[in-house]
């Protein structure tokens, strides 16, 4: 059994809590939130021991591991305190507000030697996992260019202010939305280490960007385009996609459907020359408890198994999320040049 506590029972936190609650190897020892109403409901109906001060919770409930799902600006101070107490951490994305903070936590987690994971759930999506496998096997030859896109209806009119509309709290399309695509590309191709040009555009928001357009290059020298817009109402929910061009073929994938084109007569088993289409349903392993997409359950299960020592802690480590924070900050800096 793993003793787990949660900080931040908001939209993301409640989803994690439900998945944790259904996990046979988890005992929830505490939940912390500053909202009185949230705490009342969880105490009364779920019977969890609740706190408003996370340090008090850490000291009283003595969790083995903590899931951090508070607004992004709190990730750094909270994770730091918890690491110093030797606690395994799963924290939501984006990791920190700047790469300096992410670096500090990455190093600290290594020193303390605890399991560390960040909630970039796309890494647990079957289609994207298959893209990574194809790229690692060199199946489309030398990669020449990529395109990473995400669109969705988060801010579709002028809105009242929340932490998402405050740049100093980790709000904005680049940090909150584009981070998913950037992280995926960093993982599948190689980290984005330079930005040739970028536009961060506000559409409805007063003080943060609602769309991101950037021309970038990866560490391996591949050029790419990032196009992300969270004010696009033509999407019912977030849609993330990547296309990768190679000398022997091309890959186009979103979270549902993978299309691969092979030019010549060399292709991996299970594929053929020309277009191939695979669906996430064929590429996804069933989970023990389903809430809102296999990937959300799978990432939590992976974390629990890592804490139990049944899996190596290699997907979505602090280190990988630090690289993503670095790419994010490059794009941001370039936009103000």
């Amino acid at each position: 059994m793993v003793k787990i506590a949660l900080i931040g029972a908001g939209k993301m936190g409640l989803s994690h809590l439900s998945i944790l609650g259904a996990h046979p190897k988890v005992e929830i020892v505490g939940v912390c939130d500053t909202s009185k109403m949230v705490v009342q409901v969880l105490e009364r109906y779920s019977g969890y021991k609740c706190f408003s001060d996370y340090l008090k919770m850490a000291d009283e409930s003595r969790p083995d591991a903590v899931v951090v799902a508070v607004p992004t600006k709190y990730h750094f101070p909270m994770v730091k305190e918890l690491l110093n107490r030797g606690i395994h951490i799963f924290t939501e994305k984006p990791f920190c507000l700047n790469p300096e903070e992410s670096k500090e936590l990455t190093e600290l987690a290594k020193k303390v030697g605890v399991v560390n994971q960040v909630g970039y759930h796309n890494k647990f999506v079957g289609t994207f996992q298959e893209v990574k496998r194809l790229i690692n096997a060199g199946s489309i030859g030398e990669i020449t260019h990529f395109q990473g896109e995400a669109y969705g209806p988060v801010v579709v009119k002028k809105k009242s202010d929340t932490w998402r509309s405050d740049p100093s709290e980790g709000g904005g399309c680049l940090m909150d939305y584009a981070s998913h695509v950037i992280d995926l590309i960093n993982d599948i191709i190689s980290p984005i280490e330079s930005c040739k040009g970028s536009i961060l555009k506000s559409i409805y928001s007063k003080s943060v960007d609602d769309s991101v357009y950037a021309l970038v290059e990866s560490k391996s020298g591949v050029s790419g385009l990032i196009s992300v817009n969270w004010s696009d109402e033509t999407y019912r929910k977030m849609s993330t996609s990547i296309s990768i061009m190679g000398t022997n073929g091309k890959i186009e994938s979103d979270a549902n459907e993978l299309k691969v084109f092979f030019k010549g007569d060399k292709f991996p088993t299970g594929y053929s020359k020309g277009w191939n289409v695979k669906y996430v349903t064929d590429l996804t392993e069933e989970v023990d408890f389903y809430l809102r997409g296999e990937e959300y359950s799978a990432q939590i299960d992976y974390f629990i198994k890592a804490v139990l020592g049944e899996k190596n802690n290699v997907i979505n480590t602090f280190e990988s999320a630090w690289k993503t924070d670095k790419s994010i900050s490059l794009i941001k800096e370039q936009s103000s040049k």
Partner: protein, 294 residues
């Protein structure tokens, strides 16, 4: 419940395997008349129950149905609530308390937040009841014999151990709407165990059932075992496994499972609607004659 029930995913661009297909669907069903036309095809094929999300656009469909009582005399709707995206978007913007303030009628939440109402467990159940009433408004005057809780909410509550809300939903639906409560879930075995533990017997559950184990948490074997035990009234959904199985094969499998009372399907074209209905009827017929000849 009728053997075959018509669903609404195709109308609202919900497609589990392709964003392109969902785009095509939202173009096809842009106008309410296209939805009604498709519903009429289903009705002509003998399917008189429509199971749908409490999406804003369903309000328009209800309006059209109310205006033609003769034509829709036998027509039933099974509402599935809530339309989760509406609330999810509101929570992003307003927070949980703000969302409740926006959607719960009256000043109930305001006074609760101010601490004006004493902290009683009943308060939160009453808030849920008010939310149910708000979602049910659009169905006034329409026959809604079964009312469902959507899987995101059922499963969220299930994971959080908040069985009281599941029971509270059932009670309110029975008392106020004189309807049977139903639960949509991706976790049939776990939900059923939980409800039975709370003395809730033989619930109506709509759940993923297909040949390829798609969204069947706990696995197909456990699902088949659960079905054999006949502990609940099941509506099978996602029978095509998200598109992974050819329709004929998928329908043969699900039609022949024991204790599956109804099959929910969605389709946009006349051909697919009629084919699906015919295929299920064919297997049902075959099984029946097979039984009598034994």
């Amino acid at each position: 419940m009728e053997r075959i029930i018509f669903g609404d995913n195709q109308f609202f661009a919900v497609n589990h395997i392709s964003d392109e297909k969902s785009r095509a669907q939202s173009i096809k069903f842009k106008d309410d008349s296209a939805i009604i036309k498709t519903l009429d095809i289903a009705i002509a094929a003998g399917v008189n129950t429509f199971m749908c999300t409490t999406h804003d656009r369903i309000a328009n469909i209800c309006e059209i149905i109310r205006k033609d009582p003769t034509k829709y005399k036998d027509f039933k709707i099974y509402p599935c609530m809530p339309y989760a995206h509406k609330y999810a978007n509101a929570v992003t913007e307003l927070g949980i308390a703000g969302t409740l303030k926006q959607y719960v009628p009256g000043n109930f939440v305001g006074s609760l937040l101010k601490g004006g109402v004493a902290y009683l467990s009943k308060d939160y159940i009453s808030i849920m009841e008010l939310l149910i009433d708000a979602e049910m408004k659009m169905f006034k005057g329409i026959n809604t014999p079964v009312i469902f809780l959507q899987n995101v909410i059922t499963d969220l509550l299930l994971g959080l151990g908040m069985t009281d809300f599941l029971l509270g939903f059932a009670k309110h639906v029975r008392e106020k709407y004189n309807a049977e409560p139903g639960f949509i879930t991706m976790n049939l075995p776990k939900l059923l165990d939980t409800l039975e533990k709370a003395e809730f017997k033989n619930p109506i559950i709509c759940t993923s059932i297909n040949k390829v184990n798609f969204r069947m948490s706990g696995g197909k074997d456990l699902y088949e075992k659960t079905l054999r035990e006949g502990r609940c009234r099941v509506i099978a959904m996602q029978v095509l496994g998200g598109g992974a199985i050819p329709a004929g094969e998928a329908l043969e499998y699900v039609s022949n499972l024991p204790n599956v009372e109804s099959i929910l399907f969605g389709a946009s074209s006349r051909q697919n609607i009629e084919n699906t209905v015919d295929t299920i009827r064919y297997h049902d017929q075959k099984r029946r004659t097979g039984l009598t000849s034994i």
